[in-house]
Symmetry: C2
Subunit: 469 residues, 2 copies
């Protein structure tokens, strides 16, 4: 009888545990999760805070009881793994009930990621939040509920006044213009907060194309979100409670601040066990997600993976990769060595009434470092046939290699519901398979007037960029 131990309880962890047990029911599968929640959809938290999802429980796809009873997985919540001993092949976990030492034959480290805290003062003030866990989500929702009920009781004469809205539940600050910042801008604006979003660089959503960034920023402004670019936040000021975001050149009064400046891999446990990190600072693995330590795997937000364009390690901590790589590890430890595939750096975001997706390599500096000579073009096209009575605009940015014509990356934006995100599926295939602009422009994509123009915008973009080579 062999034992598979999993450290962590979310996407990669529980995908691995479930797949391993399903493929090999004789395997002992033991999971240690330090918190109380397992297998939850953290990506849904902004919509829970917004109020569109009523219970945190709704974000849980499989409950601890189901894992234990239906899937026969030995799941321990409230157990913090403090040590991995690769020589003895054991892990040590601490809980309220004491310390347990568990032997393993194979081990998955799925310790996830933690919010990156920027080097600014005042992060410990009351009213400063991050969104990295279910309990973070709970606290934010409680804040929203509290502020709303106070707003109902009094015409807010305590905190700072609204600058842009006739009435609001108090201005709030968001530090960081990535997808968490933007989804939270939507969630908070929907609850009548006046939202001030501060971005350090010169554009939001910097993983996307410049065109996408600009269009989303314009859309946020239309939605009464105040967007501050090149805003170097120095302090979250206040007494006990935060009352302003202070940058190098201004002071924005707020009643609450959400810090969403990215995440870093949780690697401390792995490092302590001699598990090597890669160039990105996340845990290095091979194509089977095995680390340098035999029989020890790493997957999900704590690990890096090979980029489909360059073949080089990349750190793109997102849900699908965690699920996919966890599942591959589960299959592998159950006896069928399974590669989980690389990452294309694909992501999607809804921002109020627009949607956007990006995949592959868009940044010219990165592309040049990888040996390409990048060219980029952005086109705008109708999302449905021009004569069709509904529809909007799809904006497509493509980046390709000048010399070979190879498609390196893409970024798409449309009104919500007009298909930018699902259309990006075509580009994921293109960057993964390494096809050229001409090959892409010759794809026989689906067409009918209610869905696109005869040449889908993706094809038009490929034609236009090919024409510039």
């Amino acid at each position: 009888m062999s034992t598979f131990v999993v450290v962590g309880g979310d996407a990669a962890a529980m995908s691995a545990a479930s797949k391993a047990k399903r493929d090999d029911p004789d395997l002992d599968v033991v999971v240690f999760e330090r918190g109380e929640w397992v297998s939850y959809g953290a990506c849904g938290l902004p919509y829970y805070i917004k109020g569109e999802i009523q219970s945190l429980q709704d974000l849980v796809s499989v409950t601890p009881e189901q894992f234990r009873e239906e899937r026969d997985i030995d799941l321990h919540t409230g157990h913090n793994v403090v040590d991995i001993d690769p020589d003895e092949q054991t892990v040590t976990a601490e809980s309220d009930e004491g310390t347990v030492v568990q032997a393993y034959d194979s081990l998955l480290v799925a310790t996830g990621a933690a919010p990156v805290m920027p080097p600014i003062d005042g992060l410990d003030r009351e009213g400063v939040y991050t969104l990295g866990s279910m309990s973070d989500g709970k606290e934010l929702r409680e804040y929203v509920a509290r502020a709303r009920s106070e707003g109902d009781l009094q015409q807010s004469d305590s905190g700072p006044a609204c600058q842009f809205l006739d009435s609001c539940n108090g201005p709030v600050g968001i530090v960081g213009g990535g997808y968490i910042g933007i989804e939270m801008a939507e969630a908070l604006a929907a609850n009548d907060f006046e939202v001030h979003l501060l971005q350090r660089g010169d554009r939001i959503l910097k993983a996307f194309s410049e065109a996408t960034s600009e269009t989303v920023a314009e859309h946020l402004a239309e939605q009464d979100v105040a967007v501050y670019l090149d805003a170097e936040v120095e302090e979250l000021a206040g007494d006990d409670v935060v009352d302003a975001v202070v940058t190098d050149d201004q002071r924005v009064p707020v009643e609450m601040v959400l810090v969403g400046t990215g995440v870093r891999p949780r690697t401390e446990l792995a490092e302590g066990a001699g598990i090597e990190l890669g160039p990105t600072g996340a845990i290095a693995t091979d194509a089977y997600r095995e680390t340098n330590v035999p029989d020890v795997y790493a997957a999900g937000d704590c690990a890096e993976a090979e980029h489909v364009v360059t073949g080089e390690p990349a750190y793109v901590p997102l849900a699908l990769t965690a699920n996919r790589h966890g599942r591959a590890v589960g299959a592998t430890v159950a006896g069928t060595p399974t590669e989980g595939g690389g990452v294309a750096g694909t992501s999607a975001v809804k921002a109020f009434e627009v949607e956007a997706a990006r995949t592959g390599m868009l940044d010219h500096e990165e592309a040049r470092e990888a040996g390409f000579d990048p060219i980029t073009e952005t086109i705008e096209a109708r999302s449905r046939a021009g004569y069709y009575p509904e529809g909007g605009t799809v904006e497509v940015t493509l980046t390709a290699d000048q010399e070979s014509g190879r498609v390196l990356g893409g970024s798409l934006l449309s009104e919500y519901g007009e298909g930018a995100v699902h259309r990006s599926h075509a580009l994921v295939g293109a960057v993964t398979e390494g096809i050229t602009l001409r090959e892409l422009s010759n794809y026989d994509l689906a067409y009918a007037p209610p869905f696109n123009t005869t040449w889908d915008p993706v094809l038009t973009a490929a034609k236009v960029l090919e024409g510039k080579r």
Copy 2:
């Protein structure tokens, strides 16, 4: 000075003419179109008849005047080409003004397709329509307008009564359950006609998967369309005017019939010039769309093209291929030999409140003939995250080769707006590049709760079918 002559005036023809002139402004480009309309979106006709598009003119993307004045194309409408002489390199066209003989250096035959008329009696009765041209569209719209205004004036006591609806503009019959039949069912039902759709085989949309066919048929029934399967139509009965569709075992009273039983390539002109047809009965071409006759090209609905899965000739007369191949011919005759790519047999259809797309090879008999050992599976999955407050169901059918795991084809269906059609973009790439189910299931597709589950339904389908190998 070289002359490029184009026979035909729609997608392939005008794409070729425009591209050739743009790439080589010194080229003389002469177009002969026998009708009055050029460069029109025939795919929009059902929505014009439905009443969602107000003018036939709205379906025209570029007018004859624009072609002549802005693009410097010598366009002759009302000119019917009756002869091609490959030895002399001339075409002969007849018009009201007489006969012209035009010399060419290169020639494109883009004569399109004509509706297939099934071998049944009564096709010449009044009230029997097809939908193959702009004038067909005009007649159908006039019929709808006339029936509606008569319906307003009298409680229809003339023609047959409605069977299923409390009131209607008279029952109408549609012979054929392909995309034209289905789009016209929507168009006619929206105008309060009681629609009877008769399909010869045991399912509608037979190019799609059985699952898609069944779900669309159920949806049509929910929309009060009477669907008759295995209905062998023998006669469109009546005196002067059709009044019933008669099958081998029933008689369906109707006031009008639309026959939509597919199209056949118009090849007579080409055949007369010694241009060879391929195994599909359409004009055979090489990868550059050149026929067996040097400097004579064929593209669009009159020509076949190589299927991306088999590499063998296929006849899939659809708008994108016509545009793409026309454009490629234009580039070629202007001096840059250009392949237009193969066909994947991709198509999309909206049927009332559902949307569907298909691509590649789904039919097991065809797949076996091509040397594959096909397996198929259909899955149903949520179109957005389960906890997200909106969304529906995406049904995905995949067909793959048992031995290699190669993805051969797919069929997708969802509620309209839930992304079945745009998601099919992923499968077009998969069948075109010849990737396996495992490779597809490892694709890093975009994910966020408002757009899909963590594993997009396309990925889930790939995983499930891979699990059955």
